[in-house]
């Protein structure tokens, strides 16, 4: 598709309403390093300390300090009334959390992974998401459902599914997916304070990763707005959207592309529902090319929604078809080599970006795909 006359002035004004981009490319010597795990733990701690109505419930969150140690130290600090080790019934404790929220508490329900949330999904959708609407605002549900989402490493099909698009399709829910420690802190705090039900999708492999955090991020009042994406890296040739672990991959891909003279703009979605459509559209209107990246299954995925959004709002700005990079359309295999092939890798993102820029390798070398 050939370029359309750019409405530069319009594009400029769109850029002004974009969130201020800040790049983490350089590590300032004054900023501290913080693991995502720590970031989540500190956010939970601070919010529980600030509001006595906040409580945490889930399997192994108390005595065991959390299946992934996210709730370390909380039982000791807040006692068994506010950090509840639940019996093994997702449907049960999710329903209980929702009931507690109906009555005025602010529960945080932890799923050991979101795969197990399927056993509780009726309560998440029918009891939490729809209740404010169906009770005409009489009942509000200030609950947070959190836990690791998506693929880990070598855990097989029933432990690896990404639920971002499932939950994001449901009105009444907010769905967040942090990447860095700053995201983890700011978004979890926002989620706990939010009066609506929030699904908070973490990533097991990110728990152990460290990111620089500024003093502002470390402050206990720090909070990120829900519904706003972040431009992790500015660029002008192609827009790459990603969330959670894939943001890291996209950033690596951007480095590789830079060497080829392709300047990629990386958008960290942060919020899957509501999706920051204005930010994505503004970026595409600048670069004219889009690649979406996600770990989940391709059909009806987050990329499909973003693509439709661009077609609706910025069709004339596209210079190339939108490409989605997603996980393979198969239940996650266990064997390490197969697992690697079932998930997007940095190379896949690089190749897609090149295709979008009409700079892909000649067909003969396509066998390397």
């Amino acid at each position: 598709m050939l370029g359309i006359i750019r409405q530069k002035a319009f594009g400029q004004s769109l850029q002004r309403i974009r969130p201020v981009a800040s790049s983490w490319g350089g590590y300032s010597s004054t900023s501290k390093q913080m693991m995502v795990r720590e970031a989540l733990n500190s956010a939970l701690d601070e919010e529980m300390s600030a509001d006595p109505k906040v409580l945490l419930m889930g399997e192994e969150v108390g005595e065991y300090q959390g299946a992934y140690k996210i709730s370390k130290g909380l039982l000791e600090k807040y006692g068994p009334e506010r950090v509840l080790d639940t019996p093994i019934t997702e449907a049960g404790f999710t329903g209980i959390g929702v009931g507690a929220a109906f009555y005025g508490l602010k529960p945080i329900v932890e799923f050991m992974t979101f795969n197990f949330s399927m056993q509780a999904i009726d309560h998440i959708i029918n009891s939490a998401a729809k209740t404010s609407y169906m009770s005409a605002g009489q009942i509000s549900v200030p609950i947070v459902f959190r836990g690791p989402n998506g693929a880990a490493a070598g855990v097989g099909a029933q432990h690896s599914q990404c639920y971002a698009s499932w939950y994001a399709s449901c009105p009444g829910l907010k769905v967040l997916a942090p990447y860095s420690s700053e995201d983890a802190r700011g978004l979890l705090k926002a989620a706990i304070r939010d009066p609506d039900p929030v699904v908070f999708l973490e990533n097991e492999l990110l728990y152990g990763e460290s990111f620089p955090v500024s003093a502002e991020v470390l402050d206990s009042s720090f909070c990120l707005p829900i519904g706003k994406a972040k431009i992790e890296r500015e660029g002008k040739d192609v827009t790459i959207t990603a969330f959670s672990k894939m943001v890291g991959y996209a950033l690596k891909a951007a480095e590789i592309l830079a060497k080829d003279g392709i300047s990629a703009e990386i958008i960290n979605l942060r919020s899957i529902r509501p999706l920051d459509r204005p930010a994505i559209n503004a970026s595409v209107r600048k670069t004219n090319r889009l690649v979406t990246v996600e770990e989940g299954f391709p059909q009806h995925g987050v990329g499909a929604e973003i693509c439709a959004s661009i077609i609706e709002d910025s069709f004339g700005y596209l210079d190339a078809p939108v490409e989605r990079i997603t996980g393979a359309d198969v239940p996650m295999p266990y064997a390490a080599n197969l697992e690697r092939m079932a998930l997007p890798q940095v190379d896949d993102i690089v190749r897609a970006a090149r295709r979008a820029c009409y700079r892909s390798v000649p067909m003969a070398a396509a066998q390397s795909y």
Binding site: G95, N126, I139, P171
Partner: protein
Amino acid sequence: MAIWFTRSRTITYYLKRKMGFMGILNQDSCSNSYFESISSSSSSSSSSRIPDVKNSSISRYSSAFTFLVHRFKSTKTSGQLDQFYSSDDENSQALDFPGGKVAYISEMRFISESNDKRIPCYRLLDDNGELIEDSDIDQISKEVAVKMYSEMVTLQMMDTIFYEAQRQGRISFYVTSVGEEATNIASAAALAADDVVLPQYREPGVLLWRGFTLEEFANQCFGNKADYGKGRQMPIHYGSKKLNYFTVSSPIATQLPQAVGAAYSLKMDKKDACVVTYIGDGGTSEGDFHAALNFAAVMEAPVIFICRNNGWAISTHITEQFRSDGIAVKGQAYGIQSIRVDGNDALAVYRTIRAAREIAISEQRPILVEALTYRVGHHSTSDDSTKYRPADEIEYWKMARNPVNRFRKWVERNGWWSEKEESELRSSIRKQLLQAIQVAEKTEKPALGNLFSDVYDLPPSNLREQEKQLRETINRHPQDYPSDVPM
């Protein structure tokens, strides 16, 4: 509270052996002590709570078992049995298992799938509305009794007239509670205004008791602009924040774990109130029932689970729903005190819920109440129950076992009600109902903005945009849109 003791056929066999009490593992009483020793916090005697119940409901055993019965009848078992265990020289034959000592036996014995006798049903009025035992029951006042009776009549009439309205096509759907008026009203009467109610969908009587008006019921059914639900839900999905009655939700049994969560909040607030949640016999098959009861016991939540066992879950008879002795027997499996009551005896239901509430709040524990009743009406207006059950069964329960008539006889016998008052009440209610329906039918539907509000606390940008676009389109092409949707 009815405590049931298993009578094992071969108990005398065990009695003869030296192992003596060890052989009575299968006694419910023994398992009672097992539970008591687990929950060391709850060791209060349960025997003196309701004197009349203890004596009347526990049946007399044959002499062969008397000394056993003597030991366990009072259910002050934890102390007594500990004595037995510690003084018994068979100590080495007991297993020190998490939760308490478990005695060994060398005879393999399966616990029977059912007790010899079914759990008995607590009742105070016989089928003719006569008090069975004129004992020390605290009489309810004339005021309360008359109010209870009037509300039962109102509920009965509301059901009849709204059902007719659906048949006439004036409302789209309705669910009656015919046959369950006593369970509805009497349980509501026993509660306080602060008690939080999470209903299933066949308990509008609780709302009625608390003051929901016939107009408010009608508005919800017609989904008009006066409906507190803003026209969002099907008929009968009532809800009232000020009356502490959570909006009816269609998925079955989801209200049970929610009730436990709400009860936990009440417990944290240390409120002098409990949560009451209702479920039908069919709903107890749901996974949520299991999770809720289990959790309620573990969390020591002040919640009363009231199961309306009305015999039918749409077309599924209870024999196809479960093979246990109803629902009351399941309570013990979770460590929950339970009772079976005659759901068509308003007095018995009233007293039972009063007592249950007392226990739940003062001891901070859950209670399970099974109310035996019958679903006289169809499951809903989408059902014709004559297709799966005999018409004379329905007729029998409608006429001979009618809870409203039964209570009326008792109230009249006390000199608190008369034929004159009866006909006055009925004609007044009828007038009010017809009026309410007429007015509700003519009232405007909710305004357009209600399509988009309350999805979230604050309206998101996409919905604000959609609403704006919709309004613009309607303004441009009004003839293409229905005229009865106020803008």
